[in-house]
Every structure is written in structure tokens, then in C-alpha cells.
């Protein structure tokens, strides 16, 4: 079966190209040992599969995620390569291309963003470029799909000739000798000569640890290799003391690239400021920049909730608790299902899971807007403007993105932290994301604020969001000073030109984020709802006569005394908080079950007699802060690859919640 690999720099429209070339795709889990997911698709022309490799500037990796590319090339040996190249950044992109030419497998270049290049006055002569590189070059505008058809045609035409590029770049006597010596050594480890030893040798000379690791050389060979490398390094230093091996290789390649560019590219520099420049004058304005961003955030939240999200959500709610429930109960009756099972399905599953699914509109709207902000390039500017603030507390401007996403759902937010290269800041960001008040906590706020603070609901809820943000900044500072002391970091971001996102890519981006939320609903909340319902139905003495005799009450009662100091030492509160660990929305579902009321009005009555306003506020703060939900804990574990950090995040959260609630409750009692 033919397997093609898609390789290219980041931000070249690789995703758009992948989408345009494939009729379907799937994530086949993660590349081993890293957080990047492996994406494989089926080519439209049924020519086999295509694997999307992570975007890299060079095969020599900077991070472990980047190492995936080199490891794949050594281990998997794709039958063909498609190299997507950004026409407006040809010089930089060709660096990777040259390495791929040395790889020696059939190569096709997709020259993307021709339109951007033209608008900058950069005119590329395709035939010249193709001739100098020795491979087909097909112009594309991946966003619209233009050129993709030709690309696929050339691909299938090529495969029948297995046209491997005939490319040799002369690196000078010293290095060429080293290549020969190293190739000889490697020949023992690459028996069937399917992998180009020249390519491997060059990568090893460039100190590509990923390739080295993937070749699985034995100790003997490793030692000889090291000797060869040192020898070469010394020879080079003899002629030019400041020249390292890596630097030398790069300069040879760059020289060749300059030659190619001179022949193939005609530049007419345009003196007019680009559209991007003009937009940036406004977007990054020293005075208006941040207020503009805040306005965007305000509009985002308004759209997500008041204007669009809540109305849609209400409609969904009406449907689920109305026609859908009626239909299901009717079906259950018709099937003559037992009372227990019927109650389990209707009161447990439908109520529990349904209660979460009604949030789908808000979640997806928020993620759509965030994806839009990311894809236009505005997000990068935002991180620049706010980096100073982040830096003051030991974070990075890039941490802002996960934090913003965290207001929707913590699960995709933590996954978004992958974008932060520095480990210290990435871990710190992931630990702090749960303090961002996700949309799951909103139903709790809505319930309590609606009962106790009816006239200033918005203000009260807003205060909780602010509490979360302030604590984030405080803890960031604290953790940087203590746990993450002595860890260097730097900030670096590339600002892509502004562009209008393409619909298909935008929806896929949104779906990727929203998927996390749905998966959470489908698994944890489903299981949780069933469990909670059962715990409320059954008790130590069999089927519980009343809620007070149930397992739920029993376990809640165990915790209750601990919650006295924070103002809600009842088994009901204890039980609700415990179930909230499953997913924070479930707190409301549990209360529905515990107080055995059919709808929100009944629940409000019950709540108003069970809590005082101060207790209610303390409770809401506790919900805001205590432990990330189970799904978040799960993804934290996966992303940090460490039980230590996962346990820490739960522990500090519970402690923080307790402390803050005590301060609020006890402090409040003194004042009021």
C-alpha cells in the first residue's frame, strides 16, 4: 500500500492542503512518546494513504514533538513525499526541501501561497525552480483547492516511474569524506539500502539526535560515529576556528539556496505598506490595542452566552426534557422495561447527560470564535500585547490562548498548551488552566446567583471569573518563585500575515476543540450520571426509602463535617461536591436528584432554604476552585505524562478552594 508523507514548514497551509487532498482522515492515536497526534488520511484519487507530519523548519528537531518527523522518515520510509512550500517565504522553506531532496525518495513540491508572493512583488519562475531542484513543482492555492487536482495527477503519474530526485550537493572535501566514512558504518545497520545513507550521514553530521536514536546503532558503532564527528569538527576548525559543523552545513545549503533563488525568483520590492501592516497599526496600537482586544473578548462572551448561545441552549433543553424524554419514556413503556431500568435511563442518563449536552451551543460558538481569532492571525498579536503581563507572573504570552479556551472548557484548553515550547511555562500553564471558570461551572453559578443575588446576578458571576483570574496570576507568581525557580525561558512568536480563514479549516479547528467536550460528556458524565443515580437510589439497606437513606447521603455525610468551616456542612452539599468531581455541571444534576425536584423552580425553593447568601457565595467559590473535573485530570495526566503533576493539580486546587472559602465564609460572618 502506498504511503505518502506530507511535510513542510509550520504556517504554510499544510492543513488546508491535507484537507483538500484527502476524502477522509482520522487520528490514529499519538506518535509514540509525544503529545502530537498522528493524522493519516485517504487520498482523493484513491492512490493510497497520506500521513500529515508536524510542521518543521528543519529535520533536526528542537523539541521532542519535532523529532517525530525524523523518526518517521527513518522508520516508516514513505513511498513518496509531498513538500508544501510557502512561495512568499521561499528562502526559509527551501532549507527543509534540500534535506528532503537528500532523503532520496520521490518528491513533489506543492508551491503554496502564490497569491501572497505575488502581492509582495515576488515572482517565481516555476520551470526554472523545478529544473534546478530536479523535481516537479506545482503551484497551489491550498485554501481554495486550486492546483490540488494537478498535484494528485502528477503524483499518480510519478509513482509509475518512481522518479527519485537525482540531487547531490557538494559539501567540500572534509565533509564529503566524512559522509563516505559514516555511510560505510551505517551500511551495516541499513541492510536493504532502502534508506539513503548519504542522507542519514548528513543528518548525523548535523547532530540530529532523533535520527541517531531512530537508527538504533549499537555502542560500538556509536563510538566510532562520535570519533568521526569529532574529527570532522576539528578539521573544519583548523581552517576557520569559529565554524562549527552544524553552522558549516547550514551555510553550504544556504549558499545553494541563494543560487537557486537568484535564477528562479524575480523580486519587485513594493514600497507600499501591506494590508497586514495597516491592520497592525490598529490592532497593536499602543493605546487602543488592549482595549480593542478586551472588546473582542466581551463580544465573544456576549455571543457565546446572551445573544446566541443561551437561546439555542434553551431550545435544546426544551427539546430534551420535552419531546425527547416523552419519546424515550414511551418507548421504554412499549418495551415493557422494568421500573428500575426506566428510572435509570430517564432520571439518570437522560437527565444527567442531557443536562450537559444543552451546553453544546455555547461551547461550539465560543470555540468557533476562538478558532477564528487564531486562524486570522490576530491571536498571535494578542499574545504579544499581553506578554508583559504574563511575564511578570512567570508565564508566557502564549499561555493566554489556553486560558481563553479554558473559559469554554478546560479539556481542549490544556491540549492547546502544547503550543508553548518551553516546558516550565507549559507545565505551569496547564496547572493553572483549571482556575479558568469553564462553562460547566456556569449552571451552578446561575442556580445560586439566581436565588440569592437575583438583582445583581451578572455582577456576582463576573466576580467569580475575576477571582479565578486573580488567583491564577497570584499562583503563577508563587509557583514560578518556588517550584519552577531556576528554569530559563524565552518568548518567541511568528506573526503570520492576516488572512481570512477558510470555512472548511475553520470548522475542522472548531470541531477539534469541541470534540474534547463531547467526549467528556459521552464518557465521564454518562458513567457519572449512572453512578450517582444508583447511589441515590440504593442505600445500605437496599433500595432507599428516601434520599436520606441512600449511599449518596451516607458518603456525603462522611464529608459534611469537613465542610462545616466553609459554610456548607450538610450531606447534600458534600454529595453534590463529590459528584462535581465527575464534571462540574453534575453538581446541579445531583442537587436535582437529591432534593428530588422535577425542575429548576422547585430546586430554587429548596436551595433558598438550605443555604444563606454568604454560604451560597462560599459554595460557588469552592466550585470554582476545587479540583479539576475528571476529564481535565485525565487530559492533564496525558499531557504532562506525570502522575506527580496531576496529583499536585488536584491537591493544590482542593487546598486553595478550602482556604478561599474559609476566608469568604468566616470573614463574611465577621463583617456581615
Amino acid at each position: 500500500m502506498n504511503n505518502t508523507a506530507l511535510i513542510g514548514n509550520p504556517n504554510t497551509g499544510k492543513t488546508s492542503l491535507f484537507n483538500a487532498l484527502t476524502s477522509s482522515y482520522q487520528y490514529v492515536g499519538n506518535w509514540s512518546g509525544v503529545t502530537v497526534e498522528k493524522k493519516v488520511g485517504q487520498l482523493r484519487n484513491k492512490a493510497g494513504s497520506i500521513t500529515d507530519l508536524p510542521g518543521v523548519y528543519s529535520l533536526n528537531p528542537v523539541s521532542r514533538d519535532e523529532g517525530v518527523v525524523a523518526t518517521f522518515l527513518v522508520g516508516q520510509e514513505p513511498s513518496a513525499i509531498i513538500n508544501i512550500v510557502d512561495a512568499s517565504q521561499l528562502e526559509r522553506n527551501l532549507y527543509l526541501t534540500l534535506q528532503m531532496l537528500e532523503y532520496g525518495k520521490p518528491l513533489l513540491i506543492g508551491l503554496n501561497m502564490m497569491d501572497v508572493a505575488e502581492s509582495r512583488g515576488v515572482h517565481i519562475q516555476i520551470e526554472v525552480l523545478s529544473r534546478m531542484l530536479g523535481v516537479p513543482v506545482i503551484p497551489l492555492v491550498a485554501r481554495t483547492g486550486k492546483g490540488c487536482h494537478e498535484l494528485l495527477e502528477v503524483m499518480s503519474h510519478n509513482s509509475s516511474q518512481t522518479a527519485a530526485p537525482d540531487w547531490i550537493l557538494d559539501y567540500g572535501e572534509t565533509v564529503e569524506q566524512a559522509i563516505l566514512d559514516i555511510s560505510r558504518e551505517l551500511a551495516k545497520f541499513i541492510p536493504n539500502a532502502s534508506l539513503s545513507t548519504r542522507w542519514a550521514a548528513l543528518q548525523l553530521l548535523e547532530n540530529n539526535q532523533a535520527v541517531r536514536h531512530a537508527l538504533k546503532l549499537d555502542d560500538d558503532c556509536s563510538r566510532r560515529l562520535d570519533t568521526l564527528l569529532e574529527g570532522t569538527e576539528r578539521s573544519l576548525a583548523a581552517t576557520d576556528p569559529s565554524m562549527t559543523l552544524t553552522h558549516y552545513l547550514r551555510s553550504v545549503r544556504m549558499a545553494r539556496i541563494q543560487e537557486i533563488l537568484k535564477s528562479a525568483v524575480i523580486t519587485q520590492p513594493k514600497a507600499r505598506p501591506t494590508l497586514t501592516d495597516r491592520i497592525d497599526q490598529m490592532a497593536m496600537h499602543p493605546f487602543w490595542g488592549v482595549p480593542l482586544f478586551l472588546t473582542f473578548m466581551y463580544v465573544t462572551f456576549k455571543l457565546t452566552f446572551d445573544w446566541l448561545g443561551n437561546p439555542l441552549s434553551d431550545m435544546l433543553d426544551t427539546f430534551i426534557s420535552g419531546p425527547l424524554s416523552t419519546f424515550i419514556s414511551g418507548a421504554l413503556e412499549a418495551l415493557n422495561v422494568s421500573g428500575f431500568t426506566a428510572a435509570l435511563i430517564l432520571d439518570g442518563i437522560v437527565a444527567g447527560v442531557g443536562g450537559v449536552l444543552v451546553f453544546m451551543p455555547q461551547i461550539f460558538i465560543m470555540f468557533l470564535i476562538i478558532s477564528f481569532i487564531e486562524d486570522t492571525g490576530y491571536m498571535a498579536r494578542i499574545t504579544v500585547m499581553l506578554d508583559r503581563l504574563m511575564e511578570m507572573v512567570g508565564l508566557n504570552g502564549k499561555s493566554l490562548i489556553p486560558f481563553i479556551i479554558g473559559f469554554g472548557c478546560n479539556v481542549p484548553a490544556i491540549m492547546a498548551s502544547r503550543g508553548i515550547e518551553q516546558e516550565k511555562e507549559r507545565t505551569l500553564t496547564m496547572l493553572l488552566v483549571p482556575l479558568m471558570s469553564c462553562s460547566a461551572r456556569l449552571p451552578v453559578y446561575a442556580l445560586f446567583a439566581g436565588v440569592f443575588f437575583a438583582r445583581s446576578q451578572a455582577l456576582v458571576v463576573f466576580s467569580l471569573y475575576i477571582l479565578g483570574i486573580l488567583l491564577t496570576l497570584l499562583l503563577a507568581k508563587l509557583f514560578s518563585r518556588t517550584i519552577f525557580k531556576n528554569q530559563k525561558s524565552f518568548y518567541f512568536i511568528e506573526l503570520p500575515p492576516y488572512r481570512l480563514p477558510q470555512g472548511r479549516t475553520l470548522f475542522r479547528s472548531t470541531w477539534e476543540k469541541g470534540k474534547g467536550f463531547l467526549r467528556k460528556a459521552g464518557t465521564f458524565i454518562l458513567a457519572g450520571s449512572v453512578l450517582i443515580w444508583m447511589m441515590s437510589y440504593l442505600g445500605p439497606g437496599g433500595v432507599a426509602e428516601s434520599m436520606d437513606d441512600s449511599f449518596l447521603a451516607y458518603v456525603g455525610g462522611l464529608i459534611a463535617p469537613l465542610l462545616q468551616p466553609v459554610g456548607f456542612g450538610t450531606w447534600q452539599a458534600g454529595a453534590a461536591l463529590m459528584t462535581g468531581f465527575m464534571a462540574k455541571e453534575v453538581v446541579v444534576s445531583t442537587m436535582n436528584i437529591i432534593y428530588h425536584v422535577p425542575d429548576i423552580n422547585g430546586l430554587q425553593v429548596q436551595i433558598s432554604s438550605a443555604f444563606t447568601p454568604l454560604q451560597a457565595y462560599s459554595f460557588m467559590s469552592f466550585i470554582l476552585l476545587y479540583t479539576p473535573c475528571l476529564a481535565t485530570v485525565g487530559v492533564l495526566r496525558k499531557e504532562t505524562s506525570s502522575w506527580k503533576w496531576t496529583a499536585f493539580s488536584v491537591a493544590y486546587a482542593v487546598l486553595l478552594a478550602y482556604l478561599v472559602s474559609i476566608v469568604i465564609y468566616q470573614g463574611g460572618k465577621l463583617i456581615f
Partner: protein, 80 residues
């Protein structure tokens, strides 16, 4: 005649110079910059300085990027 070498952040917004030294910056950052083709000999332009000691916006080889002032201060340029 030796071209005088000075600090990148002495450049006023809109002004360009040629990079002469990148040795002093964080090695990983240097690698990231090299990936973008930004190394000694490249022409770099300062676009703007963000308020309150925030990051610097730079342009090099047609690419817009941003790094912190602290790092930018370690880049030497000449011939502005």
C-alpha cells in the same frame, strides 16, 4: 573601516540594520531564529516597541516576529 556595532534596541522604530552578533542570546531562541533564516548578515528592521517594556516587533526576510526586549538587547547589529 570597522562598521560600528550597537545594540538592536537602540534602533528607532522603522529603522533597519544588519545583524552582526547572535552569540549572546538563548541557544534555543538562536536556533528558532536560524530556522527562519535570521542569522548574522541578515538585515533586520525594528517595527515597534510594545508599551511598558513589552516585546519588540521585528521584521526580517519578509517575516514578522516578536521576542522579548531582554533577548533583543543581546542582539548586536551594525550599519544602521
Amino acid at each position: 573601516m570597522q562598521p560600528r556595532s550597537e545594540n538592536l534596541i537602540r534602533l528607532k522604530p522603522g529603522h533597519s540594520a544588519v545583524i552582526s552578533q547572535l552569540i549572546h542570546i538563548d541557544p534555543m531562541l538562536r536556533r528558532r531564529l536560524a530556522d527562519l533564516g535570521i542569522h548574522e548578515g541578515a538585515s533586520i528592521t525594528v517595527k515597534r516597541y510594545c508599551l511598558w517594556g513589552g516585546p519588540v516587533l521585528l521584521e526580517c526576510r519578509g517575516q514578522l516576529l516578536s521576542i522579548r526586549r531582554r533577548e533583543a538587547a543581546r542582539i548586536e547589529v551594525s550599519g544602521s
